[in-house]
């Protein structure tokens, strides 16, 4: 494939992902702390070993709340071309997806409460073999993308 897709997600996505990443990792930290407590008080392991689960959970927490959103944002790219939607994503496993507009049945924009705080929205488009999405575009860009996809889809149908 010649070039990467041209467009990036909205930069506020990083902040949003940091928050959701941190919130998502909280139960993990709690679990790690509990495991450490069990190891030290019940199984009587020395501090050196007992603290390991908590440390691991904390490391994961820090990663999810800092580095991971950046990497993810840097990789995520999309482009709505005349005939296809082009997506690229994934930190370790890099996935490139092409969806012909003629195959798209309908398009939604969705935004959850947290997304709305940041004025962000997700574009979801459905084919007969499942859905694909472009997450965290600014509300305006999402609406534009949605309208553009549905417009192009209609054109393709008329052909």
């Amino acid at each position: 494939m010649k070039t990467e897709p041209a467009k990036r997600l909205d930069s506020r996505a990083k902040t949003l992902w940091r928050i959701t990443g941190a919130l998502g990792a909280l139960p993990l930290v709690a679990g790690g702390a509990f495991a450490s407590w069990i190891l030290m008080s019940v199984a009587d392991l020395p501090l050196l070993f007992g603290i390991l689960p908590l440390l691991a959970a904390l490391a994961l927490f820090v990663a999810l709340a800092s580095v991971v959103p950046d990497l993810r944002w840097r990789r995520w790219r999309y482009e709505i071309r005349d005939e296809e939607v082009d997506l690229q994503r994934g930190i370790l496993w890099i996935r490139r997806t092409l969806v012909p507009l003629a195959r798209i049945q309908h398009v939604d924009t969705q935004s959850g409460p947290l997304q709305r705080r940041f004025n962000l929205a997700t574009v979801v488009f459905y084919t007969a073999a499942g859905a694909n999405q472009i997450p965290e575009l600014s509300a305006r860009a999402a609406a534009e993308a949605r309208d553009r996809i549905s417009e192009l889809t209609r054109e393709q149908d008329e052909l």
């Binding site: 494939m1 496993w93 996935r95 092409l98 969806v99 073999a129």
Partner: protein
């Protein structure tokens, strides 16, 4: 085409009555048993229970009659209309354009009366709009209804030869048994037996189980082996039985743009597959079948609009060599057999690595564990022994993987246990993707995936470890252009 409202076959009364009895059974069984248990089995109680059963049966029969009288169907003015309901009158109209398929099913009761159940699958409405089902029609009526619906739905140009469906292939008795014997469903049957024996254990009283165990318990290794052998044989027979039930009399025929499948021993099933809905064809050479040059054919078929499609068997067993001929007759769009492109040499190492990595992991874990806690040398040894077969399996998967592009049709082959060749036309691909793991990136390999519509959110065609450029070229070339 128009017609008077028609009633179902009178057998529908009985079918409805049985349905009512079956439904009320669950409500009556527990109070009934409690009643019996509390009163004991004297004559009076049994008479009372029988009387209760009689009342239910008479009511059910009466209701069945009323329900039969209230149910009518007709095809008129471009719609199929069904009226039903004893107390609440219902009417459903289905535009004939929206009818996706007219299938007939023959349950045991229907077989007794020589009638069929007709199911009309609607399309476009998704799951919210239920299909129409006619519990009992005699064969002639069912055929007439099917023709009425399909003739209005079909393009007028295509009705030029009205010779009826031509039979493409029939599954003989020998092939049926062979299909069962090589179905590889022994595992399923084994787990069924396990569940059954669990139930058996729960039901048996402990002392009885003890006595049985003492009588039948294996006393030596030979006896234990014998047990395993017998169990395996039993499971095998069960698998054959299951296949015979499902596929007896399997007949594939074609009429213009529709494929028809008839199959089943006790329950005769008929299904319609419009050719235009077939998204992909899979040729599956099962582990037990490939050595004999045998395979089975499956199709991925899409629904209409948002309606979910299905993945279904097009033919359960035929020689791999004859697949192409059958496809030429049944679904010519999918009849391609180009030579496949192999994967690059460097992919072999990835395949071998992938199949051996669980064992490598096991070996290192067991070694570490032996070193730290207690000796697991036997485990390490066993894992080492498995390493070679695993590597050979990886090499086999590498050699069986391949792809080709012929006249707008994508052909991919891969192996999990059996070897599967999938064929899909370019215009059916809903999306294409490449995936690259960090290890794949290092050696310039990529995994190619394409999705087609089918049941449960689509089906996937995949080639693992293509050359990076080849994969990019594939997703580019399979686009809507060109």
């Amino acid at each position: 085409m128009s017609s008077e409202p028609r009633h179902l076959h009178p057998a529908a009364m009985l079918i409805d009555a049985i349905r009512i009895v079956r439904r009320s059974l669950s409500a009556f069984v527990i109070p009934g048993v409690v009643f019996l248990a509390s009163r004991g089995f004297d004559v009076q109680t049994i008479v009372l229970v029988l009387f209760g059963a009689l009342v239910v049966a008479v009511f059910a029969a009466f209701w069945g009659f009323l329900s039969w009288r209230a149910t009518t169907y007709e095809v008129a003015g471009g719609v199929f209309r069904l009226r039903w309901g004893v107390v609440q009158k219902n009417e459903r109209t289905i535009p004939l354009d929206h009818v996706q398929s007219v299938d007939t099913v023959q349950g045991i009761i229907q077989r007794l009366f020589g009638v069929v159940e007709v199911r009309i699958e609607t399309a476009g409405g998704g799951a919210s709009e239920p299909d129409a089902s006619l519990a009992a029609l005699d064969r002639a009526d069912a055929e007439a209804l099917r023709r009425e619906i399909e003739s209005s739905r079909r393009e007028p140009v295509e009705t030029e030869d009205d010779a009826g469906p031509t039979i493409l292939r029939r599954l003989g008795t020998r092939d049926l048994l062979l299909a069962g014997a090589t179905s590889g469903q022994i595992g399923v049957a084994l787990s069924l037996i396990a569940v059954a024996s669990q139930l058996f254990d729960d039901v048996l009283s402990e002392s009885l189980a003890q006595r049985l165990l003492e009588t039948f318990a294996p006393r030596s290794v030979t006896a234990a082996l014998l047990y395993v052998l017998i169990l395996g044989l039993f499971a095998w027979l069960l698998a054959i039985g299951g296949t015979v039930l499902a596929y007896a009399g399997f007949t594939l025929s074609r009429d213009g743009d529709f494929l028809y499948i008839r199959r089943g021993l006790l329950e005769r099933r008929e299904a319609t597959i419009p050719l235009a809905r077939i998204q992909a064809v899979r040729i599956v050479e099962g582990l037990l079948r490939q050595p004999f040059g045998l395979s089975s054919l499956r199709v991925e078929s899409a629904g209409y609009g948002e309606d979910a499609g299905v993945s279904t068997t097009l033919f359960p067993l035929l020689p791999r060599k004859e697949v192409h001929t059958l496809l030429l007759d049944a679904a010519p769009e999918f009849a391609v057999a180009p030579p496949l492109n192999a994967l690059p040499r460097r992919a072999l190492r990835r395949y071998v690595f992938r199949s051996t990595v669980p064992f490598l992991f096991l070996i290192s874990a067991a070694t570490l564990f032996s070193y730290l806690v207690f000796d697991l040398a036997a485990w390490v040894f066993a894992a080492l022994l498995l390493l070679l077969p695993a590597a050979l399996y990886g090499r086999l998967r590498y050699r069986d993987a391949g792809w080709a592009l012929e006249e707008d049709r994508l052909v991919v082959r891969s192996r999990l246990l059996g070897r599967t060749t999938a064929i899909a036309p370019r215009r059916r691909l809903q999306s294409r993707a490449t995936v690259r793991s960090p290890l794949q990136r290092r050696v310039r390999l990529a995994t190619f995936q394409a999705r087609v519509a089918s049941g449960g959110g689509g089906a996937e065609l995949r080639v693992t470890d293509l050359g990076s450029d080849t994969a990019d070229g594939l997703i580019e070339n399979l686009g809507p252009r060109a």
